[in-house]
């Protein structure tokens, strides 16, 4: 192999060639750069939060600054990191490769989505620079419409725009999966990652419009002083919460479904076996995507909705845990009779399963109305969703980045550093967030910048864990960038993994495959002795 070999990376090296590219692989890189920026921006906010909470007295910043900090952390992490993270980077890069296509169905639309993402980000950063917003990422009315004195409209417009980026990506993926599968790639031969992209695209497409329109109504209400969420006119602030969670609960599945897809790929490749129960894995992805639309009310058990509504939302929330349980059991069973290696991707994947399971089980506590009354709006909830979103989604994202790094860059990263970072992340994460379960179970409310002394010890532990966690996020930036220049060159398939993406060069040529591949077998065609 010599340097002159042409790949998507050598197609052009000018900035303009990147900013006007229609190549899904290059757009994936554009997203990765932008998303990493926002991840660290949100991470700085998280660090400030943990620093403030290291003491109970609220002595680092003012109450208003703290409120703006956690709002910014939430807005950035949810809309500018977690939701686009796996779909727009790994999804963009891998989806066409995995189904044997040359590109996504609408390449120009794909690039346009990236610019929308940037534009939305620009509004959000502008909002920060002008002084920020203090409503919490949930923008609850009437606080956000009538009482907050901060830049609510700017923040809302940013989220509104990035929502369109999400909708267009979802639409693009759905059409791609439907129309561009290569010869022989039938629906039940799709890798689970593709299925997870299908599920997540459905949710992005069908839930995000509700958020966009709701936020428009909110902005109009704030600007004109008249709107349907204003109780003093006879409007209903709970209606806002219903609309908001109709989007935002499915949004949780936007964050976690792709992780499940990534982890299925990571585990099968490290175990060298077919996934256990492929069909059930597919059904559970679709099940989660669909039932995910019907459980939003479990965020509102104490909000004042009717008792009967809560009963229905409670049982549906238990039901949606079933497909998640199926996935955990199937991943475990996949290990049986495997030929298991423990590279960094596998460590991330196993870490994901553990943290996701704890996050999921504590979710059952919150689905149980009688317990939710006590636990909701406390740090128990904060810990729960960080286990799913950070322990789950971020672990899977980084695991996926490592696993496909040789494919994306053509280079191998340092295995030792990568394993160290993965283990450090697992430990740091648990030290940060496990104490928050305990604080929450003892009643510590969320969004408090000062708190009673009895919660001090748990918060100190949590802040200490955050230091480890921050280090484990910075490490990969170092050794991954280093590997791009100095890493060992990777062949087409350094892991001996199965899947169409491993059948082309690393990094792949611009048109992905020398000739369109023909599929004759199901996914994960590892030879079992």
């Amino acid at each position: 192999m010599h340097r002159a070999e042409s790949s998507y990376l050598t197609e052009g090296s000018t900035l303009a060639s990147w900013l006007t590219t229609h190549d899904h692989k290059r757009i994936a890189i554009l997203y990765a750069v932008a998303i990493t920026f926002f991840f660290f921006l949100g991470g700085i906010a998280a660090a400030l939060i943990r620093l403030e909470l290291a003491t109970p007295h609220g002595d680092l910043m003012s109450a208003d600054t703290y409120n703006k900090t956690f709002t910014f952390h939430g807005v950035v992490m949810v809309w500018f990191f977690l939701i686009p993270s796996i779909p727009n980077t790994l999804g963009n890069f891998l989806l066409p490769l995995m189904i044997g296509a040359r590109d996504v169905a609408f390449p120009r639309l794909n690039l346009f989505s990236w610019y929308l993402y940037l534009l939305g980000g620009l509004f959000t950063v502008t909002c920060l620079l002008l002084g920020g917003v203090d409503t919490g990422w949930t923008f609850y009315t009437p606080f956000s419409t009538l009482f907050s004195n901060t830049h609510v409209v700017l923040a809302v417009v940013g989220v509104f725009i990035v929502g369109f980026s999400s909708i267009l990506t979802g639409l693009n993926f759905i059409v791609t999966i439907h129309t561009l599968r290569t010869e022989g790639m039938t629906w039940l031969r799709l890798p689970l990652f593709v299925w997870s992209m299908y599920g997540v695209s459905l949710v992005m497409m069908l839930a995000t419009p509700v958020l966009a329109m709701t936020l428009s109504l909110l902005a109009i209400e704030r600007l004109t002083g008249v709107g349907i969420f204003d109780p003093s006119l006879g409007g209903d602030p709970l209606l806002f919460q219903h609309f908001f969670w109709f989007y935002s609960h499915p949004a949780v599945y936007i964050m976690v479904l792709p992780s499940m897809g990534v982890v299925s790929e990571l585990i099968t490749a490290s175990v060298r076996r077919k996934i256990f129960g492929y069909r059930f894995m597919v059904y559970s992805i679709i099940g989660i995507a669909v039932v995910g639309f019907l459980v939003w009310g479990h965020h509102m058990f104490v909000a004042g909705q009717s008792m009967y509504a809560s009963i229905v939302f409670s049982i549906l929330s238990f039901i949606i845990a079933v497909p998640s349980a199926i996935k955990v059991f199937n991943w475990t069973a996949t290990l049986y009779k495997g030929d298991i290696t423990f590279g960094a991707p596998m460590i991330y994947a196993l870490g994901f399963v553990g943290l996701f399971m704890l996050g999921g089980l504590t979710g059952l506590f919150l689905a149980a109305t009688a317990l939710d009354v006590n636990l909701t709006d406390t740090y128990f909830v904060v810990a729960h969703f960080h286990y799913i979103m950070v322990g789950g989604a971020v672990m899977a994202y980084l695991g996926g980045i490592h696993f496909w790094w040789p494919k994306i860059t053509g280079r191998l990263y340092s295995e030792g550093w990568a394993r160290f970072a993965a283990i450090l992340m697992f430990l740091g994460f648990n030290l940060t967030f496990f104490p928050q379960f305990l604080a929450g179970a003892e009643g510590m409310p969320r969004r408090y910048y000062r708190y009673p002394d009895e919660y001090a010890l748990l918060n100190v532990l949590s802040s200490a864990g955050a230091v480890l966690l921050a280090a484990s996020y910075l490490l990969p930036v170092g050794y991954l960038l280093w590997s791009m220049r100095f890493g060992e060159r990777a062949g087409p398939d350094p892991w001996g993994a199965k899947g169409l993406e491993w059948e082309t060069a690393s990094p792949p040529p611009s048109h992905n495959f020398e000739r369109p591949p023909v599929v004759t077998d199901g996914p994960y065609a590892y030879v079992h002795p």
Binding site: P142, G277, G304, F318, T332, K337, L364, T369
Partner: protein, 312 residues
């Protein structure tokens, strides 16, 4: 919740469910972790073990670990709902305390007229129902030691109830983010023995809430139309509370706290049948605490409880 006192009749039951789920979760976690570890060690690369054969594609296995969790979940759901319906159903003899939340303080009004800011005194052994509303944004009254929590909304009443069981002073938090001083919008609940509570009530008596309401009834000019001698054709309010009111548009409503509240601030919405909608709105002219006092008065107006003593 080991560090949290159990200070209400719910606390033990809630904790029972909590610990049951904790044990169940621990068992599931342990089972999966042990299985994973065993597989991971036994089938790691380089070990000479039997790896032959396809994976089980047994429908039975999949259905087992689909249906068993499902059955367990339904069981937990039933347990939780049973408890929760109790938590949402205040007993008829509960004492009603009115609560107004505003940025960033709590105001409590006892039926005996005692008013408190950020501290709530209650007695052990007697059910207490809090009827709550907000003057501005959404708040949430949370007393972890009682295991109760309820959002408080502007423009409507929500309620929660509890029976305190153990004397002491417990944290009271605002649990729904409400702006700058959200984390200072707290206070405490002081639980006393019935005797001590009676002494406290007596020491802080200042005319009952209903009596304050009667004063307000005159001060806001309600009496001008609604008193028996008035020349204005306005509904009589004696014995109104709890009765069924036929409305001008043909509907019927129960005259509960919500109806009385809305009739004061939005009189045009639910006009009693047979009356012209001439009452002006008192929105923005009366605060929520005064409305609650008026409601307390309307509840007893026209009953023998109205004038146990001679009017002052």
């Amino acid at each position: 919740m080991s560090g949290l006192p159990e200070a209400s009749s719910f606390a033990g039951r809630v904790d029972g469910l909590f610990f049951a789920m904790l044990v169940l979760s621990a068992v599931v976690m342990l089972a999966v972790f042990v299985t994973m570890t065993v597989f991971a060690v036994r089938f790691r690369r380089g070990r000479n073990v039997d790896r032959s054969g396809e994976s089980h594609r047994d429908l039975g296995i999949e259905l087992t670990w689909t249906l068993i969790p499902f059955a367990l979940f339904v069981g937990i759901f039933a347990w939780s709902i049973h408890l929760w319906i109790d938590m949402r159903t205040p007993p008829a003899d509960a004492e009603t305390i009115y609560v107004v939340g505003k940025q960033w303080m709590w105001e409590f009004q006892h039926p005996g007229g005692q008013r408190e800011i950020n501290t709530l005194h209650v007695a052990t052994g007697h059910p207490v129902r809090l009827v709550m509303t907000s003057q501005d944004v959404i708040h949430d009254l949370s007393v972890p030691a009682f295991r109760v929590k309820q959002d408080i909304l502007p423009g409507r009443y929500t309620d929660l109830w509890f029976t305190a069981t153990r004397p002491g002073t417990y944290d009271l938090f605002c649990a729904e983010y409400c702006g700058t001083d959200h984390s200072r919008m707290g206070g405490s609940v002081v639980v006393e023995t019935p005797a001590a509570h009676a002494r406290w009530l007596a020491a802080h008596a200042s005319g009952s809430l209903a009596e304050r309401g009667r004063t307000l009834f005159t001060r806001y000019g309600c009496a001008g139309c609604h008193d028996a001698g008035s020349s204005v054709h306005a509904p009589r309010l004696e014995g109104l509370y709890g009765s069924t009111v036929p409305l001008a548009d043909g509907r019927q409503v129960t005259a509960d706290e919500r109806y009385l509240h809305d009739s004061i601030v939005l009189p045009a919405e639910e006009v009693a049948a047979g009356y012209a909608p001439i009452m002006p709105s008192y929105k923005d002219r009366i605060d929520e605490a005064d409305i609650l006092a008026l409601i307390a008065y309307l509840k007893i107006r026209g009953t023998e409880r109205e004038s146990p003593h001679a009017p002052r």
